[in-house]
């Protein structure tokens, strides 16, 4: 049975739909209300608060902390200033992606790693001989994602104008007001492609934090948000999701299920020419060779999609949620890939997908066909390769 997070007393009281799922062993709200659109629109127009506690979190401390995270991920952190957050992935020795997450440099000798899958054993395996102490904070550190255009206003109410100085992908330690006041961190990060922050504190302060943020959010229309609205926003933002858009090499059963960072579009984060790290040689070879397939954005031709439904006398109604049911992608009659996440973007009014396709089809504007099932019959519609993010919001970084 899933376990409750420290926010459960608040989130469960608000979750009138009783619509939950399991996330990393925790109860996670999918939508608070049966009408999920409200949460999506609050995210894009007001502000939303999501319990992100189920994320796996590890504290890496000690003289060699930097060396460890530099050794196990595809990026180096030596030159990073304290307070910088990095989005990274990490690979096995064959250069196949195990997971993706964030690394925050909280101090020269203190890094925080977040991940979607458990990573303690793996971190410890690579820490041998290093002067580091790894703590699994997954169950002791509470996390809230405060996202949306008014999220900064909400935080101004909570901690004052010091929030204005926090730049994109930066972290700051914070003393949250009480009573009793307590310590925590704010990072300017998120999984929505919008202006947003993540708030971190010890479990025992979680309810105080929730109440304080909700109170400050009242004038700005702050709403609690569940995973369904998040899943729509992350596709708009072009963010891949482990176990949906790719399979971790940790659990992949066959080689074909594994991916390299280059296949997932993580090229920009792989720093090959630096101190050795796990998978470097394999990645060097992959970089030279070029990936065989690529994760791309697809935009499904709406007129064709609608015509498929019209042929049955139907109107396509797409719910505000992301379908994680993979469907084949074709070039003519030949399958050249598969779409793993599909969502109708309420903001762009476009039907979008994240798909993995053979590299030769990954060029923007390549025209492919995607399977569409209507009335139990299979059809295909044109799907154009489109650069991600599909939705680029200036405020995300402003």
């Amino acid at each position: 049975m899933p376990r409750p997070t420290p926010f459960h007393p608040r989130t469960s009281a608000l979750c009138t739909s009783l619509f939950y799922k399991e996330w990393a062993g925790c109860y996670a709200v999918r939508r608070y209300d049966v009408y999920v659109d409200r949460e999506y629109y609050a995210l894009r127009h007001q502000a939303t608060l999501m319990d992100a506690t189920p994320l796996y979190k590890y504290e890496v401390r000690g003289k060699d902390a930097c060396e460890l995270v530099t050794r196990v991920t595809v990026r180096g952190f030596e030159g990073h200033k304290v307070g910088r957050v990095s989005y990274v992935c990490w690979c096995d020795e064959h250069g196949k992606v195990l997971d993706d997450g964030t690394v925050t440099k909280l101090a020269l000798d203190h890094f925080r790693v977040t991940s979607a899958e458990p990573a303690l054993a793996w971190l410890e395996r690579h820490a041998r001989g290093l002067d580091v102490k790894i703590t699994d904070a997954s169950r002791s550190l509470a996390a809230l994602a405060l996202q949306g255009p008014r999220s900064r206003d909400v935080l101004r109410g909570l901690i004052g104008s010091s929030i204005d100085g926090l730049r994109f992908f930066r972290a700051m330690p914070v003393r949250f007001p009480g009573p009793p006041a307590f310590d925590g961190w704010i990072t300017r990060t998120g999984y929505t492609g919008d202006l947003g922050y993540e708030l971190w504190c010890a479990n025992e302060h979680a309810l105080h934090l929730w109440d304080a943020v909700m109170e400050c959010g009242k004038p700005f229309g702050l709403l609690p948000m569940g995973l369904d609205a998040l899943d729509v926003s992350r596709v708009e933002a072009g963010f891949v999701l482990g176990a949906v858009d790719y399979t971790s090499a940790r659990i992949a059963f066959i080689e074909k299920q594994k991916s390299t960072p280059f296949e997932l579009g993580f090229d920009w984060m792989v720093e090959i020419d630096r101190a050795d790290f796990v998978g470097r040689e394999a990645l060097r070879a992959e970089k030279e060779r070029g990936p065989a397939r690529r994760l791309v954005g697809l935009e499904i031709d709406w007129d064709e999609f609608e015509a498929i439904y019209a042929a049955f006398g139907l109107i396509p109604h797409l719910a505000t949620e992301t379908s994680r049911e993979p469907v084949p992608v074709y070039d003519g009659g030949r399958q050249v890939g598969y779409a793993t996440s599909r969502t109708f973007s309420p903001t762009l009014k476009k039907y979008l997908a994240l798909a993995t396709v053979a590299a030769e089809y990954a060029k923007p504007q390549s025209e492919l066909r995607i399977e569409v099932t209507c009335e139990y019959e299979r059809r295909t519609a044109t799907a154009r390769v489109t650069p991600t993010p599909f939705l680029e919001l200036e405020r995300k970084k402003s």
Binding site: D33, V34, Y35, D37, R38, Y41, A42, R44, H45, Q46, P149, R150, D153, K218, P219, F220, G221, W302, D303, E306, Y309, G313, I315, P316, H317, L318, F344, P346, T347, L348, K349, K350, Y351, L391
Partner: protein, 533 residues
């Protein structure tokens, strides 16, 4: 006197309303040099947001985005240029006796709500919605393409008619009956065939009279009901919604798209008349005397202003002029915008909730609406009018200071032709505003003391300030005899006008009013196809 940069224009768009802007954006996107001339200081026409009272942004005239065509949003990439739409969550009907009805996005809750008035009606609602959606499917191709031309024998026209005819022929006898009833009956008669509860029929019938000078029991009003169900036809698009920052946000996004493609905009540039040379439109003359020439002139203004004021009857065929003179406006509605220092509290449903995040109808029954019409028939505004209230600040905090709200009230009936004559409206304006606030205060007892500012617009004001003839919000009544190939006049429903090189792109052209964008887009496409620019 032509300034150097205006030396050559492919097209001049007269009127920077949303349709004029859509037309300009399409023409500019196709590489044409386009100039938009707007009389007011701000673009948008009736789709405009203005900070009339500091900190509060009113959607001054039109207040919800209805049926903005999804293909226009995609083709002009309006999301990229700042368009953000938020759907209306529910329809709320407060009643004076303390009861209320909420029809919303939660189907199970809606069933419960309607059941309190009629179990039978509650169960009938989904069937009714399905029937209306099916008719909507039939109407959709009509609003997304130019009006058919029944007089033409050109193969393309015959094919188009055939396709429409097949839609009709494919219908089952039941559907056929429904369509014919919808075309001929009154909104109330039509709803009587489905529902028993007056509480349901009141707010439903009212969509049949918006923008017309008809009552809910007037024949022909059933058809306009369909408009309310048209949101369904766009499936995933959920067309009824708020635009972020008010309805001016739609106009701004379209203008941004047009400018991106090279169109130029001039505000405070009122056009005095359309230049006619050798029997063709050749440009415009501004009120300042400035003359600007172009290969084509597009009017986003209503047909009366376009043809009778800008062009002049002397340049047009007599029978066409007669048609335009007969074309009915009969503005019947006004607008009251309020800045509030707190969220309104309905006596029948205190506190916050989805009932405040959608549209709120003051329409407690069919007789109430008919009595409101009675006042109008005899030349006065309704003492107790139908009011359609929205509080966009509940879902879009950008339009009001934190914790404060804007309330938009669409009010019918406020006849343009009051007994004393339309020019006497300024003396009546505040009394009209009082009637609206008094009516609302019967449902929201704390309303009066929460009002920080009030803006009242009579149909006379809508005409004077926004150029809407007789204050009609749709550039002419949306009645069957003024739709499709009859809008604005038989033979001239294809955006082309009797004056060569003059085109009509406003709501007075097919398929009509609302923030739909279709007349503007279809006009531009017709112009490009005809190589008129």
């Amino acid at each position: 006197m032509a300034s150097p940069r205006t030396s050559f224009w492919d097209a001049i768009v007269v009127g920077g309303g949303h349709n004029g802007l859509v037309c300009a954006a399409y023409l500019a996107k196709s590489g044409r040099k386009v100039l938009v001339l707007e009389r007011r200081h701000v673009l948008g026409g009736a789709a405009v947001s203005e900070e009339i009272f500091p900190g509060f942004t009113y959607s001054v005239c039109s207040y919800v985005v209805s049926l903005l065509r999804p293909w226009i949003i995609r083709e002009l990439e309006l999301a990229r240029f700042g368009l953000e739409l938020i759907p209306l969550e529910a329809s709320f009907l407060p009643l004076p006796d303390g009861r209320s009805l909420l029809r919303g996005s939660d189907a199970a809750q809606t069933l419960e709500e309607v059941s309190r008035f009629s179990r039978r009606d509650a169960e009938t609602m989904p069937e009714f919605a399905r029937a209306m959606s099916k008719i909507g499917q039939f109407v959709k191709p009509i609003i997304d393409s130019p009006a058919p031309d029944p007089a033409s024998l050109a193969p393309r026209e015959l094919l188009a008619l055939l396709r429409l005819g097949r839609h009709f022929a494919d219908a089952s006898p039941d559907e056929m009956e429904l369509r014919l009833k919808l075309l001929s009956m009154s909104a109330v008669d039509f709803l009587d065939e489905w529902f028993e509860s007056d509480v349901l029929k009141g707010p439903m019938s009212v969509s049949g009279i918006i923008g017309t000078f008809l009552g809910v029991r007037s024949p022909g009003t059933a058809y306009v009901l369909l408009h309310h169900y048209m949101g369904e036809i766009d499936g995933a698009f959920r067309s009824w919604g708020f635009s972020k920052g008010g309805t001016g946000g739609v106009s701004r996004a379209i203008a941004n798209a047009a400018q991106h493609h090279g169109a130029e905009m001039r505000t405070e540039a009122p056009v005095e008349r359309i230049l006619v040379a050798d029997g063709r439109a050749a440009g415009v003359v501004l009120a300042s005397g400035e003359e600007i020439r172009a290969r084509a002139v597009v009017s986003g203004c209503d047909p009366r202003r376009t043809f009778l004021s800008f062009v002049g009857a002397e340049h047009l065929p007599d029978d066409f002029v007669a048609d335009i003179r007969r074309y009915r406006y009969r503005g019947s509605s006004g607008k009251v915008n309020l800045a509030l220092d707190r969220l309104p509290e309905f006596a029948c449903r205190p506190g916050e909730g989805p009932h405040l995040r959608g549209d709120i109808a003051i329409a407690p029954g069919v007789d109430y609406l008919e009595r409101a019409y009675d006042d109008a028939k005899y030349g006065t505004f309704s003492r107790r009018p139908y009011i359609n209230v929205v509080i966009p600040s509940t879902v879009d905090p950008s339009v009001a200071p934190p914790g404060k709200h804007v309330m938009s009230c669409f009010v019918q009936y406020a006849p343009y032709e009051i007994a004393e004559g339309p020019e006497r409206w300024p003396e009546k304006r505040e009394a009209f505003g009082d009637a609206v606030v008094d009516t609302l205060a019967e449902y929201v007892p704390n309303l009066r003391e929460s009002i920080l500012h009030r803006q009242v617009l009579s149909p006379w004001d809508l005409e004077q300030e926004f150029g809407l003839a007789e204050g009609n919000i749709f550039h002419g009544e949306l009645t069957l005899d003024q739709l499709s190939f009859l809008r604005p006049a038989a033979g001239f429903a294809r955006y082309r006008t009797p004056l060569e090189r003059l085109w009509l792109a406003g709501s007075g052209a097919h398929p009509g009013g609302g923030i739909m964008g279709a007349p503007g887009a279809l006009c531009a496409k017709a112009m490009l196809q005809a190589r008129a620019v």
